[in-house]
Structures are given as C-alpha cells and as structure tokens.
C-alpha cells in the first residue's frame, strides 16, 4: 500500500478513535451544537494549517504563523480604534500584511539562504515585536486592549443559523488550498521541490519562486485566521496566537505531511485540525490540566518525525535490496550459465 494511503487511514483512525472515545463517555459530545462548536474550535487552526501544509510540503517549516496572527490582529484593532475606515479596508490591510509577512519569510529563505527554522524563528520575534510596538496604549504607556465595536467586522465572528462563519471560511480555504495543490502546475511543483529539490531544478522548475509562493500562502492563511479570531474575541492582544504555530504544525503532520517534504495534502491537515480541536475540547471537558494540551502537541510532533525517519530508511533499504537482489541473482545465474557454456 502507498504511504499516502497508510497515513490517510492512520490519521482517520486516530480521529475516529477520539470521536468514539468521547462520544461513548459523554452524552453531550455527539450533539449538533457541540459538533458545530468543535468545528469552530478547529477552524482557526485549520485555516492556518492549510497554509503551513504548503510550506511543509516544500520540506520547510513555518514557526512564525502565531506571530503573524498577532500582528495582523493588532493592525486591524488599530485601524478600528484610530480610524473610521470601512471594514473592507481593514480586511484588505490584514490580508496584505499577512502576504507580505509570508513573502518576507520566503525572501529570507531563498535570498539570504537562511535555514527555514532560523528565518521563521527570527521573524516570529519580529512580528511579535511589531504587534507589541503598535499595541494600543493608555496614556500611562501600559497596553490597553480596546474592544472592537465595528459591527461589520464583528460579523466575521458570527454564525449563519448553527454554522459559524469561520467554519465556512475554513472549508472554503481548505478547498482552495487542495485545488491549488492538486489541480495547478504550482501544486505539482510544490510537491516536486519538496520531494527532490535537485531533480526539480533539473526539470527547469524555479524552486525559489515556488518556495516564496508557499510562504506567502502561509502568510495569507495566517492573516485570514487572524481576522476571524479577532472578530470572535472582539479585541486584539499582543500575545494572541502564542504557541498556535505548534498546534498548526501538529495538525499538519498528523494529517500526513512529512517534514522531509513532498507528502501530504490539505485534506489531511483538515483531519489533523479536527483531531487537535477534539483533543483540546476533551481535555477541557474532563477538567484535565491545560498542560496536557502542549504535552500532546510535542509528543505528536516527535512521533511523526521519528515515523518519517524510520519509514524513509525502511523504504530506501527495501529499494536497495530489491533492486540489487535481482541483479545479484542475475549475476549468479550469469556466472553459472557462463560456466555451463564453457563445459558444453
């Protein structure tokens, strides 16, 4: 069976185990309102995960998503606090900043040749710092988190009957992401550079451009997530999204993306995001310490990293042995045949 299939089944299995476990132990779990709440919980992580999926498929990593969320949120809060500009200006500004932030990551990686994790770790500090700098302050200089009152903007945090808008956005973004990955040349190239950068270059693909696009998509997704999160919280704080990048990365790798690149897709990441949301929900429901949440995140990442490594080594070994075993059998046969020929 293909690795993709195994991984897909594995992540679905994990998800269903979780659902069955919580469904069996809690009557409230499988009720419609709770399901829609769960979907809402999963949505912001999920939207970010769509973008990070692109980066991880290129064999990169993006640690700056949480900080981009804070920065974008803070920009919107500023716009609403200091101006009376229409909502779309704030939305456009947020998306633009997200795209710019992602593009900056891409530039650092492709132009300055920084390793992905160093580049995005640094920009994490930078964006978080910027959010802190532009935070709205009272006259004494301490940060005051002003409530956003723009009704148009707050609609983003609202719902249509039972479905939250953010959930709809999540599925739209996921469909778009999956479409780009599977139905455009860009998607194919994203897989190509992640799987084997050298081969992609030999096939005439501009790897740097693809890498920059992947980071930009991640930045845009972070911005989209930030807008919905801000609308729901009705305010922006500089600490918004701290540690969110790890939720996102855990979701993406549960869904089947390999850190070594070239594998996984957005649907997997959607499953991963749902998994993380249900897990978090369960942890709260059973009154477990919140610490379990980050512990599980960490464990998930470690297990998946090790899984990839072991899988690849196994795969390489198998190909080496299978390929050359034929060869040796043939060589032996050849030697035997040669001998026989000599005798006759």
């Amino acid at each position: 069976m293909r690795q993709e299939t195994i991984r897909r089944l594995f992540s679905l299995l994990l998800l269903s185990i979780l659902i069955v476990a919580f469904g069996a132990t809690s009557k409230l779990f499988l009720t419609l309102p709770n399901i829609f709440t769960l979907l809402r919980e999963a949505s912001v992580t999920g939207i970010l995960a769509v973008g990070v999926t692109f980066v991880i498929i290129t064999a990169g990593i993006d640690l700056s998503t949480g900080a981009i969320v804070a920065f974008v949120a803070m920009v919107c809060a500023n716009i609403f606090y200091y101006t009376t500009l229409p909502v779309w200006v704030a939305l456009a500004a947020g998306l633009l900043i997200g795209a710019g932030a992602g593009y900056l990551n891409g530039l650092l990686v492709t132009r300055l040749h920084l390793p992905d994790f160093i580049a995005t770790l640094s920009t994490q500090g930078i964006f978080r710092g910027l959010a802190l700098i532009i935070a709205i302050r009272s006259s004494t200089g301490s940060i005051s988190n002003k409530v956003i009152t723009n009704q148009g903007f707050l609609l983003l945090g609202d719902r249509v009957s039972v479905v939250y808008l953010v959930t709809i956005a999540f599925f739209v973004v996921a469909l778009l992401g999956q479409g780009i990955l599977k139905m455009t040349p860009l998607g194919t190239h994203t897989y190509a550079i992640g799987s084997s950068r050298k081969s992609a270059d030999l096939s005439g693909i501009n790897s740097d451009r693809v890498k920059k696009v992947a980071f930009t998509i991640s930045g845009i997704c972070s911005a989209v997530g930030a807008l919905f999160l801000t609308a729901r919280m009705q305010t922006a704080i500089p600490e918004l999204g701290t540690g969110l990048e790890f939720d996102v990365i855990a979701a993406v790798v549960i869904g089947g993306c390999a850190f070594s690149g070239g594998r996984g897709d957005v649907f997997g990441s959607v499953v991963g995001a749902l998994f993380m949301a249900i897990l978090t929900n369960g942890i709260y429901k059973y009154n477990l310490p919140a610490a379990f949440h980050i512990i599980i995140k960490g464990c998930v990442i470690i297990i998946m990293v090790i899984f990839d490594s072991v899988y690849h080594r196994r795969m390489d070994d198998r190909i080496r042995k299978a390929g050359k075993m034929l060869d040796q059998a043939a060589a032996a046969a050849e030697a035997a045949g040669g001998g026989a020929g000599g005798i006759s």
Partner: protein
C-alpha cells in the same frame, strides 16, 4: 555518407581544467537513428565530452553542429531546447509524484491555469504506446524499480521531442533482465529515428548495441569503428594503447607470506555484494579491481566496521571481529576512504587536529587533558614523514591541495601501530609527484608487515603496487590473479566479465 544523416557533429573540441588539457581536438559524429558508443578508460575524457555537449562545461575551442547548423550550448537548458537529453546516472525524478506528473514536470498542460488531466493522460498514453513500454502512468515513482525509473527518464526525454539521448552507464545498476529490456527500448528508439550516445564500460553491451564506436584515450579520439570492425581485442588494445602492452607495464604478482592476517569467508551484504571469500597475508598488498559500483568500496566498509554485513565471517588474526569502528582502529585497522572531502578529513579543522584525531588513545591514554605539545609533535612527525606542504600544522585541512589532503588522511593512520590498511582509490585527482609518494608509502608499509587492501580503478596503479589482484564484477569476486605477469588487458577483460575463452572464440 550523406551529410544530412549527421545529427550532431562536434569538431576539434578542446577543454582544459586548470591548465591540464582534458580534451584535445576531439571530434564526434552522430548519425540520425544510430546508437553511437563511446568508450575509454577512466580519465579518457568521456564524461567531460558529454558535459561539454550538454552545456554543463563551456568548451574552450571547437564547434558543435546540430542538424547541420552551428550551435552554441552554454547551459543545460540550451541542450534541452535543441533536443539533447541526458539520462542521468543519479536519476532526476521526483519520488513522490506519479509517472505522468514526472514526465510532464515543468511542461504541464493547462486549461485556464487548471491542470488538464485528461489531455495529459492522453499525451502520456500515446507516448507510452508509441514506444511500446509497459508502464502505468499513475504509478508513484518511488514504488518503481530502478529500471522502470530509467524508462520514465527516457519517456521524459522523449516528451521533450529529444532527437539525441545521451545514456551514461545506463546499465550500471540494472540486472541482466532489466538491461535486456533497456536494450529493447533502445532498439525501439532507434527505429523511430532517435539517436543515442551510449557511454559504457561494458564491452559486451557495446558489441551488441553500437552501430559505431568512438574510442577516446587521454583526451584524444583514437578511432571510430563501425559495427563490423568492433571486436574485443582491438577495442581493448585501442583503449589501453599499444605501448602499454610491454611487459614493464604489466604487474608481476608476488607470492605472499604464509601468515594470514585477515580471513574473510562468504561475506555478503544484500544488494551490494555476496559470497566474498579471501585471505589477506602479512605484508601483502591485495589489489581489488573491477568497475565502479561492483561493490569494492562497500567491502572495505564492512571490514572496517562502518557497515554491517548481512552474513559471513571476518577473522582478524584468527579472532572474529564484530566490533565498532573505534574498536577496530584500536586493534590496528586503518581506512583511507574513497571520497576524501566527505569521508576522509574534516575541512574546517587544522591539519594537526585532523592527523591527531585517530590517535588520542595513544596520545592521551587515561589522562584527562590533552597535551598540546605532544599533539604538535605528532603532527610535525607526520609532516616530516609524508612531506606535507605547506608544513604548517595550523592550516585548515580544507585549504590544502588535493594531494596534501590525501597525505593528511593517510598520515593519521601512520602515527599508530597499524596492522591492516584499507585504501580506496588513493590517488584519484592527485598530481603525479604526490602519487609516487603515496605508492612509496604503501610499499614501505607492506615491507614493514602491514597488510594492505587497495581498491583502485587506475589499472597501472593497481598492477604496479599489488602483490595479488582480485577482480570484482557485480558484487562477486570474478577472478583472482595470484601469480605470473598480469596485464591491464587481463584485468579489464575480467572486469567486463569476459572469460578468456570467449575472446579466443571470437577470434
């Protein structure tokens, strides 16, 4: 011969690297729809010629005509645009994508920015059918065998309308059956008017496939033979050069001392080599010849402990070894690996630290701290014994010349009580003077009773310093030369898998 028949003509190609001429007025004509083989010993200039033709290296002199028009090829892209494709030895496919995605990578068919899967599938199916390959376009490449991957590479080349496909040692990692399939593919290509430039070490393939054969030696075109003129004896003679057949260039095998240092029995590593058995005697230089990829270096690594064999016994001084590298080093092993830069030394560390690295057990023993003085003394000793230049113990090993780097790699083993030295391609990319130094050193060591195993693709070198020669082919020991005079021809024939009698029967 009709001029229109010529697809590619290269005239008087010259190329030198740092003053050394690698190609001297080399010419090459490839007709439409022919399989044109190029042969030559290691270093004859085959790969340089290909790299010039495909735009990897710019040429110094000469002209290239393609389809009768003079062309300049300055990059891989230029070559691709002309219709020259290379099937790389290290395959250039994306393992996680499907066959179809790989073939059309970078030239996807789109409608309004969306991939037109139907059209692409159709194109691929057509391509596969035209050449009669059996290949599923939806298969993931990483699940394919090496041979199938090669087919994908060929299809990729064909999808770009290539009229000349260059194959560099295409059967190196294929089994006999797989090679057979490849030969059929080549036949199919030929019928469709595609020309093939076929580079191979394997004589038997060339006899079988080639319409014409160009032989290179020392950067010159020695001969162009047409199919009827190709026979083993002449080809080997032309490749080696007449003058080398004189007895002084043949190696004299020497009887070895009776004392066995290393006994290897039925050593196998799946997929790499199998059923290797031999004895190594005290003070003996055992040469291992054979083509690159025949499993020679891997044997050294298994003996040294840096790889594990799947089965078989290695007895060192009568006792089985199953130890780690460091334990083996302590019992007197040394390894000079094939690839200096990635395996031999540490470029950013000083020469001193590189030389001392293997010898801390002697230098420090059970003490806690290193004495800088003794480190320096050891390094000075090595510099003196090996004549390393510049004689500066603090210089970064990465900044030395290739020859001196090799001296450092050898030097770290000389500073200890060595019993067995495994040397892999000791003089690759090293200038003549240093080569002599290294030969003298190996001789000296053997004289002192060190057992040496030498892996080399350089035939004169192998013949000159070995006391005994094993020739490997496809992971097995194919022949042993242990007495009398051995010529390059003998070794070459054995490495290509030709038994003596076959040659006789051909004559």
């Amino acid at each position: 011969m009709n001029v229109d028949d010529i697809l590619l003509r290269a005239v008087d190609i010259e190329k030198s690297f740092s003053g050394v001429k690698v190609l001297k007025k080399v010419g090459l004509d490839i007709r439409r729809g022919e399989v044109h083989a190029v042969m030559g010993e290691n270093g004859a200039g085959k790969s340089t010629l290909i790299k010039v033709l495909t735009g990897v290296y710019p040429r110094d002199e000469g002209k290239i005509f393609f389809n009768g028009a003079s062309v300049t090829i300055n990059s891989r892209q230029d070559a691709k645009d002309l219709g020259i494709a290379v099937i790389y030895q290290e395959l250039s496919l994306i393992p996680t994508l499907t066959v179809a995605q790989n073939i059309l990578l970078g030239q996807e068919i789109c409608r309004a920015g969306i991939l037109d899967n139907g059209a692409m599938k159709l194109a691929i199916r057509k391509l596969i059918e035209t050449y009669g390959f059996s290949l599923n376009p939806d298969a993931i490449v990483e699940t394919l065998s090496i041979a199938q991957r090669q087919t994908v590479e060929i299809l990729k080349a064909l999808s770009m309308q290539s009229s000349l496909i260059i194959m560099d040692e295409p059967t190196a990692s294929l089994s006999v059956k797989e090679s057979e399939n490849l030969f059929q593919t080549i036949g199919a290509l030929k019928k469709r008017g595609v020309s093939i430039l076929y580079i191979s070490h394997r004589l038997e393939e060339v006899y079988r496939l080639a319409d014409r054969l160009t032989i290179l030696r020392d950067g010159e075109r020695i001969a162009v033979l047409s199919q009827g003129e190709i026979n083993p004896r002449d080809v080997i003679r032309l490749m080696i050069g007449k003058e080398l057949r004189q007895s002084e260039h043949a190696g004299r095998m020497r009887p070895s001392r009776p004392e066995v240092v290393l006994r290897v029995r039925n050593l196998s590593r799946r997929g790499v080599f199998s059923d290797i058995s031999f004895d190594l005697h005290r003070g003996e230089v055992l040469g291992i010849g054979g083509l690159v990829g025949s499993g020679r270096s891997e044997i050294l690594h298994c003996l040294f402990g840096s790889d594990r064999p799947d089965s078989g016994d290695i007895l060192f001084e009568g006792k089985p070894i199953r130890g780690t590298v460091s334990r083996n080093i302590r019992s007197g092993f040394g390894l000079v690996p094939e690839d200096r830069r990635t395996q031999g030394f540490i470029p950013l560390l000083s020469m001193k630290r590189n030389i001392v690295l293997t010898n801390y057990d002697h230098l420090v023993g059970r003490r806690l701290f290193i004495s800088g003085k003794s480190e320096l003394a050891m390094c000075r000793d090595a510099i003196q014994r090996l004549d390393i230049r510049p004689a500066n113990s603090e210089i970064h090993a990465g900044n030395l010349s290739g020859g001196n780097q090799q001296k450092v790699v050898v030097g770290k083993w000389l500073m200890r009580d060595l019993k067995m030295l495994l040397i892999d391609e000791p003089t690759a990319g090293i200038d003549v003077g240093v080569k002599e130094d290294i030969y003298a050193l190996i001789g000296e060591l053997a004289e002192k009773g060190v057992a040496v195993i030498l892996v080399s693709s350089d035939l004169p070198e192998l013949l000159r310093i070995s006391h005994r020669i094993l020739v490997m082919r496809k992971g097995r020991i194919f022949r042993e030369f242990s007495e009398g005079s051995v010529s390059q021809e003998d070794v070459l024939k054995a490495a290509s898998g030709i038994q003596d009698r076959e040659i006789e029967s051909n004559e």
